[in-house]
Amino acid sequence: MFDQILCIDDDPIALMLCKKVITKAEFSKEIMTAQNGEEALLYFNSLKYNTKPTDLNDKKPRLIFLDLNMPVMGGWEFLDHFSTSNYSDFNTTNIIILSSTIDPEDLEKAKNYPMILDFLSKPITLQMLEYIKNKMSI
């Protein structure tokens, strides 16, 4: 069980679903949410400046569920910022793309980001979480 994970999605129902499924699966103790990439970056900024470096390791989310298609700042833009040195403290965070996209280009793009653990199709399910658990423990 993770201590904390972050779900980034603009769709409140999707976020609600995430919370419910994750809670049900006892996948994580704490579930943070952000409505778009910018909000997520702000969250990481506040984590970085308001937390003592020694505590940071415990406080930072271990896994991010990231939607691609969002207003203000989409998934790809978020990833571009998140992989810069500004966020080097968090570069061990795993990211799972959770999207409804079917554009093959998105799948290709995902290969360019080493921090992306997997590219999964909505909706989030118990089986999916089981699969991720297995994949990350290896």
């Binding site: 129902i13 409804s100 079917i102 093959p104 199709s121 909505k122 909706p123």
Partner: protein, 570 residues
């Protein structure tokens, strides 16, 4: 002759002497006066001798004159004979047919040419001028008669003409006719000598050349002929341009002959193309270029331009022939086409993007619905009616999800023309497919015969092949006949360059006479089954074709259906 003169003189002497002696004797006997006998006799003698000498002189003088006249005559006779002989030899040697027309008597004679050239036997040849005139082609005869009379009336000096002359076999030959007149001392035409030369061959050749020439003069393409050698790195000088060229370039023939085609060059001309041309001319090689040229009025036009070297019998370039075509219109069309293609590609891209966004926007709420329904599954529901409603809600959502997933597949297949292929084991693929259909296979227990001995490995996209076989198998099971046990035969065969997969069942079949065009269409359904969406075969065809294969169907109602899939081997 001299002797004859002497002879006559001698005879004269003898007779006159004899007469003188007779007279003298007679006088002696009958006249007594003898005093003058001798005197008279001597006088007679003297007279005889004198007249005899005179006679002889006159005679010999006459003779001499006769001899010169005779000799002259003989000489001219010889000359005539010789010239006659010459005439005969020439008449024989020449290919011309010669005739001689005595105008007053209207008598015309022909040499042998009339037989050897025109085929008339001597007995067929008429002896009047009318016979000759009748043989002239009707279209030429009026012109010829006008000319003939003006010639006889000596209004024209020489007469040389061409007309068609009929042969014995009723064909016509082109002849060149030359004739001259003989006149009497009053200057009246008495004879006309003519020579007719068969020029059919030349005429035919001339007409052939004329015909060939029309290719140049009438051609829509511009044709230029230039000299062999170039000066100062220019294109060789022009010696001929055809009318089309004048029309295209605006230059008249006389303005341009003797100049180099370099004058068509202008600021927008492609100088690398021109260099290519000059190089080819140097190497005496054929060459074709395309560039912008300029007319006399400095208007630009696109021209496709070829230069072909013409070699003479010594294998040296004698001329260059250049064929040019105004391609401005073509270029314009090409540009329009390019523009259109660009626009279409952009439109297509936009549409694709649109379909991705639409499908994303459809899928997002749908995935929420599915997720929420998954959560409901674990919540016990007491209310039976609510349970029923939720059940229907669940079914519809799943059906909607399936449809959208199928559509998404179609979109992605259409977008991915070059998909990755790999070596696939047929048996392995079938195992996967059967596993996915395990439940249905267990339920209906069809007889499935696989025949993959000839082909075991296919170079193909594995996911597509699986999807294709899954669809076909599902169809076979779904549309099985209720009257007999389902039997499916799948076999693979190999030809020289392709692999053929046949998929055959004994199901209810499709009425192909009514539906042949629609079988592989999108949203085409042929049986009223609740879970048929009309997508399967469309998807199958799309996938087969994306991998460069073809699919065809053969089916009979209530007998079964068979599909033939052909994939290229390489």
């Amino acid at each position: 002759m001299k002797n004859k003169t002497n002879q006559i003189t001698l005879i004269y002497f003898v007779i006159s002497l004899f007469l003188a002696i007779i007279c003298h004797k007679y006088l002696l006997n009958n006249i007594s006066n003898t005093q003058y006998y001798y005197f008279s006799f001597i006088k007679d003698l003297v007279f005889i001798i004198l007249t005899g000498l005179l006679f002889r002189y006159i005679l010999s003088k006459n003779d001499a004159r006769n001899i010169t006249v005779f000799e002259k005559l003989k000489k001219s006779n010889d000359e005539i004979k010789e010239s006659n002989e010459k005439y005969n030899i020439v008449a024989k040697a020449t290919s011309d047919t010669i005739w001689d027309w005595k105008i007053q008597e209207d008598n015309i004679t022909w040499n042998k040419g009339i037989e050897s050239v025109f085929g008339y036997k001597p007995e067929e040849v008429g002896d009047s001028s009318r016979w000759w005139f009748d043989k002239i082609h009707p279209e030429d005869s009026i012109r010829m008669s006008v000319k003939l009379y003006s010639f006889i009336e000596q209004k024209t000096e020489k007469w040389q003409d061409q007309y068609r002359f009929r042969c014995a076999d009723a064909t016509y030959k082109y002849v060149l006719h030359r004739s001259f007149l003989l006149k009497d001392e009053n200057g009246r035409a008495t004879r006309m000598i003519g020579a007719i030369q068969d020029i059919t061959k030349q005429k035919e050749e001339e007409q052939r050349l004329k015909l060939l020439e029309t290719v140049i003069t009438q051609s829509r393409d511009s044709i230029l002929i230039t000299e062999a050698d170039s000066h100062d790195g220019k294109i060789p000088q022009i010696v001929y341009v055809n009318p089309s060229f004048s029309k295209m370039s605006g230059y008249q023939s006389e303005e341009i002959v003797g100049k180099s085609p370099n004058i068509f060059k202008g600021p927008k001309s492609d100088s690398s193309e021109l260099r290519k041309l000059i190089k080819a001319i140097k190497n005496k090689e054929e060459c074709s270029i395309e560039t912008i040229s300029y007319t006399k009025n400095k208007e630009e036009y696109w021209v496709r331009y070829s230069m072909i070297p013409i070699f003479n019998s010594e294998n040296e370039v004698s001329h260059w022939i250049s064929i040019q075509r105004d391609t401005t219109e073509e270029k314009k069309l090409e540009k329009e086409k390019e523009h259109l293609i660009r626009e279409l590609t952009q439109n297509n891209k936009d549409l694709k993007q649109f379909s991705y966004i639409t499908s994303h926007n459809l899928r997002s709420p749908l995935s929420n619905l599915t997720g929420l329904l998954n959560l409901i599954e674990d919540i016990p529901i007491e209310n039976e009616e609510l349970k029923e409603i939720l059940n229907g809600f669940n079914k519809s959502t799943h059906l909607l999800n399936e449809t959208i997933n199928d559509l998404v597949k179609v979109i992605i297949i259409k977008d991915n023309p070059s998909i990755q292929k790999e070596e696939v084991l047929l048996n392995e693929v079938f195992e996967n497919v059967f596993n996915q259909l395990n439940f249905q296979i267990e339920l209906h227990k069809p007889i499935i015969k696989l025949n993959f001995e000839k082909v075991t490995v296919l170079n193909i996209n594995k996911a597509y092949l699986e999807s294709i076989l899954l669809n076909l198998l599902t169809n076979s099971i779904k549309y099985r006949s209720k009257d007999r046990k389902l039997k499916i035969t799948i076999s693979a065969n190999q030809t020289e360059d392709s692999i053929i997969l046949t998929f055959k069942d004994n199901g209810i079949g499709i009425d192909l006479e009514r539906n042949r065009d629609k079988v592989f269409g999108l949203y085409q359904r042929f049986h009223n089954y609740p879970d048929s969406k009309g997508l399967g075969l469309y998807l199958v065809k799309s996938q087969v074709e994306t991998m460069g294969g073809t699919i065809s169907i053969d089916s009979e109602v209530d007998k079964g259906t068979s599909f033939t899939l052909i994939f290229k081997n390489k």
